[in-house]
Amino acid sequence: MMDTNASINDMKQYIILRFDDEQYGIDISYIDNIVRLQPITRVPHTQSFFLGIINLRGEIIPVMSMRRKFELPEKENTNATRILIIKVDGNKIGILVDEVREVVTLTDADIEKVSSDSNDMRTYLTGVGKYNDSLISLLNIAGLITDIESEF
């Protein structure tokens, strides 16, 4: 456990994932699990961005596609495709991502707040983090979930 890092106020750990050539970060405290791609059972007449449901050790978990949610072009799944299980208020939801890269620790100084104006993935950003030479868009999971709930 890296609790020692988390206990320092302005440091947070993020899981870095990839969509196309962009890197996104999700606050690690939301992550319940990362699983390999498995058969997804389609659910008829549901929100369009839901791919269906999977079985995670006896529990049924809905899986959504970020690509569909943000109207990105669909892409073939590869060997690197993963389902990221995030947990909000005890409820789990799966997110299909192209690849999960690594875990990084960012301090407040590394993060730049962004103003959101366009209606794409950036609406759900809490900021942009700098790590080595690359930029990481940090996803606002709470906002995303609220948005899903409002569409329910």
Partner: protein, 691 residues
């Protein structure tokens, strides 16, 4: 520690006592001379008072106290039971229920004093007040005399030196030293809580210098039905006794001034002896108690030995069983799929596992089962009140109260049943005068019959009233614009009666406050269907009406038929399936451009599952439906049927119903998901929404 942790127990027990009182007062009304009933009522009222007092609900305590007084008068033969008195008592019970509901919501009893009721109560008492606690002491007196020496268990307790010193010191200061043995009723489920309430009650009134068993052991419920203690206090013996006995389910507190032993004792070896003796007396006591209960057995209902279990813990257990079943299904599919000659022992093991899981499943389900008694036992009282209110004579006959249903179903079924009973009383039964005119028995009969029928439980609510006038319903429906006159013409009797379940439909000519506002049967129907059941009406003009409610025994694990629709797997609950048919394409007819089939004289609509499930049809080479005919699963809902077109049958399986998770929107047609043996997920189709 505070009292709030006992609030739940208080609420549960108050409910039980109220229910018991309601039942007993009803009996009393019918048999005013029944002394057993009076005693039972008195006991329950007394417990209520004690409980309300301990929890600090003063208003509730006052009302119950005055009510108890009335019963004390009746018990002493100073007062007779009459209809007015029974009415007032029922009002009191309602008022207490009011307090209780207030407590449930806000954990406070509210500010309603119910002065009027208390005055009424007091007015009914011809004779002067006699204190309830005095009565109770009188009652306790003979008991003490009978077994007083044996019941003074504290005599066997060894007092250690320092304890003795403390007592002597207290004596010198002019304080009282009491020794007491407290007996808890053997039906008590939460002995530790009761004991705690005793300690709590004594707190501040004096100092408990020793208790046997130790306080720790008592808290851990490591004791029989009694415990002894020594108290140093400035209060009187009566006050202390009263405090202890006010805690409900305390049978008795044997108490006396403690004579401090003068000789110095070596405590260790004697302790053992004392304990032995204690056990001995305990046994004698048990025997005595047994005898006592034997003699009482005729009048007293058997106490339900039960343990309250948090439903969440049960759910956890249930989930584990589910997983076990899934694992078993996995094994079964492995053994079936492999072409290699199966090892005999492997198959044996699977069968063994299957037997265990089935049994385990059954026993867990049984734990979740509750007799419907807990719901229906409030109905006799309701019918009595309705009878007065509507000025109709009627009686309620109930059978099969011990029929069991899943806890979740029980919680939901009360309101619909109540609604149907009100309907029967108000609309079903004719006014008494009319009944006499047409030669029916003066007293109308309403029946509630429950019984198990395979995997279903059926509850029938019937009356011997006027029955449903089909023509009247049709007229009303035309008036309301629900149907056209033409439709009415061709409507079968059955369909017309089903109009009753339409929203906002009531044939009652005048609206009473019992029923007839037209919100009702549709709600009843929705609720029952929400529980996976169905409701049906059978009626005969002039002879009566019967509502038949069918409910599934359990909700979590069901038998299902697995089917394949365009390569996707779905589960169809077996209980709604009638038959499987093979239909030739040329047999399909069209009515209003909809596909139907004629099956043994019945016209059944055909539903293409791939269309309603929004599956893009895959033209695979082996689907030669034009040549082979269609596989159709005939499903039913009540009397209606529909045929579901599927591609392939995969066989019957026991499935575990799982929710789909919070964020995903699930269409009504899908009632849940299940995990198959190979880990795949299949959706469960609720065919009720299709028929």
């Amino acid at each position: 520690m505070d009292l709030s942790q006992y609030l739940e127990i208080f609420i549960d027990e108050t409910k039980e006592h109220l229910q018991n009182l309601n039942e007993q007062v009803l009996i009393l009304e019918a048999e005013p001379e029944n002394i057993d009933t009076v005693n039972e009522i008195f006991r329950a009222a007394h417990s209520l008072k004690g409980m309300a007092g301990t929890m600090g609900y003063k208003r509730m305590q006052r009302l119950t106290h005055d009510m108890e007084n009335v019963f004390s008068e009746i018990r002493n033969g100073k007062m007779n039971v009459d209809a007015d008195m029974v009415d007032i008592v029922f009002k009191c019970l309602d008022a207490i229920e009011g307090y209780l509901n207030c407590i449930i919501e806000t954990s406070d009893e509210g500010t309603e004093d119910n002065e009027e009721l208390i005055e009424l109560l007091n007015a009914t008492m011809e004779n002067s007040h006699s204190d309830g606690s005095e009565e109770q002491q009188k009652e306790a007196a003979p008991k003490v005399a009978a077994g007083s020496e044996e019941r003074k268990k504290y005599k066997n307790i060894t007092i250690l030196d320092y304890e003795k010193n403390a007592m002597l010191e207290a004596k010198q200061k002019g304080l009282n030293v009491f020794a007491t043995t407290v007996y808890i009723q053997e039906s008590c489920l939460l002995k530790a809580a009761r004991a705690f309430l005793v300690f709590k009650g004594l707190e501040g009134k004096g100092e408990i210098i020793k208790s046997v068993p130790s306080v720790q052991d008592i808290e851990d419920e490591k004791f029989e039905f009694d415990f002894s203690m020594f108290i140093i206090t400035e209060k009187s013996i009566e006050e202390i006794k009263k405090i202890i006995e006010n805690v409900s389910e305390i049978e008795e507190a044997v108490i006396e001034q403690f004579e401090i032993p003068t000789e110095v004792q070596d405590s260790t070896p004697k302790n053992d002896k004392a304990e032995k003796e204690e056990k001995k007396t305990g046994k004698e006591n048990d025997e005595k108690a047994e005898k006592k209960s034997n003699s009482k057995a005729v009048s007293k209902p058997v106490v339900n030995r039960s343990v309250r279990v948090d439903i969440e813990k049960l759910d956890d257990l249930m989930n584990l069983v589910s997983e076990l079943i899934i694992a078993k299904n996995g094994l079964v599919s492995v053994s079936g799929g492999s072409a290699i000659q199966q090892d005999q022992t492997f198959n044996d093991q699977i069968e063994y596992l299957e037997r265990i899981t089935t049994n385990l499943h059954e026993s867990v389900m049984k734990v979740r089962m509750v007799p419907i008694e807990s719901v229906v036992n409030r109905f006799p009282r309701m019918i009595r009140d309705l009878s007065k209110k509507l000025n109709k004579e009627m009686e309620l006959i109930m059978t099969g109260e011990d029929t069991e249903l899943d806890r979740t179903v029980i919680d939901e079924i009360g309101d619909p049943l109540m609604h149907m009973l009100r309907n029967a009383a108000d609309h079903g039964l004719e006014p008494t005068i009319e009944r006499l005119k047409i030669g029916k028995p003066q007293v109308g009969t309403i029946r509630l019959d429950a019984y198990q029928d395979g995997n279903n439980v059926t509850i029938e609510v019937s009356d011997d009233g006027a029955g449903v006038d089909v023509e009247k319903i049709k007229r009303k429906a035309i008036e309301k614009g629900t149907i056209t006159e033409e439709q009415a013409e061709y409507m079968s009797e059955k369909e017309a009666v089903d109009l009753l379940f339409q929203p906002a439909f009531s044939t009652a000519e005048k609206i009473s406050d019992v029923s007839g506002r037209g919100v009702g049967l549709d709600v009843v129907k929705n609720k029952i269907e929400g529980l996976g059941g169905d409701v049906e009406v059978v009626t005969k003009l002039g002879e009566g009406t019967t509502f038949i409610v069918r409910l599934p025994l359990t909700l979590a694990i069901i038998q299902a038929l697995m089917v394949d629709v365009c390569g996707e797997k779905y589960a169809l609950p077996l209980n709604s399936i009638v038959t499987l048919e093979e239909i030739m394409p040329e047999d399909i007819r069209y009515v209003h451009t909809k596909e139907v089939i004629n099956l043994r004289g019945q016209v059944i609509p055909l539903i293409r599952l791939n269309e309603v499930l929004d599956i893009e049809p895959v033209e695979s080479e082996d689907s030669n439906e034009e040549l082979d005919g269609l596989i159709v699963v005939i499903v039913k809902k009540g009397d209606k049927q529909a045929g579901l077109v599927i591609d392939r049958l995969l066989g019957q399986q026991e499935i575990v119903i799982k929710p789909l998770g919070k964020y995903i929107r699930v269409p009504k047609l899908i009632s849940g998901a299940t995990i198959l043996g190979n880990g795949e997920v299949a959706l469960i189709i609720d065919s009720n929404t299709l028929v």
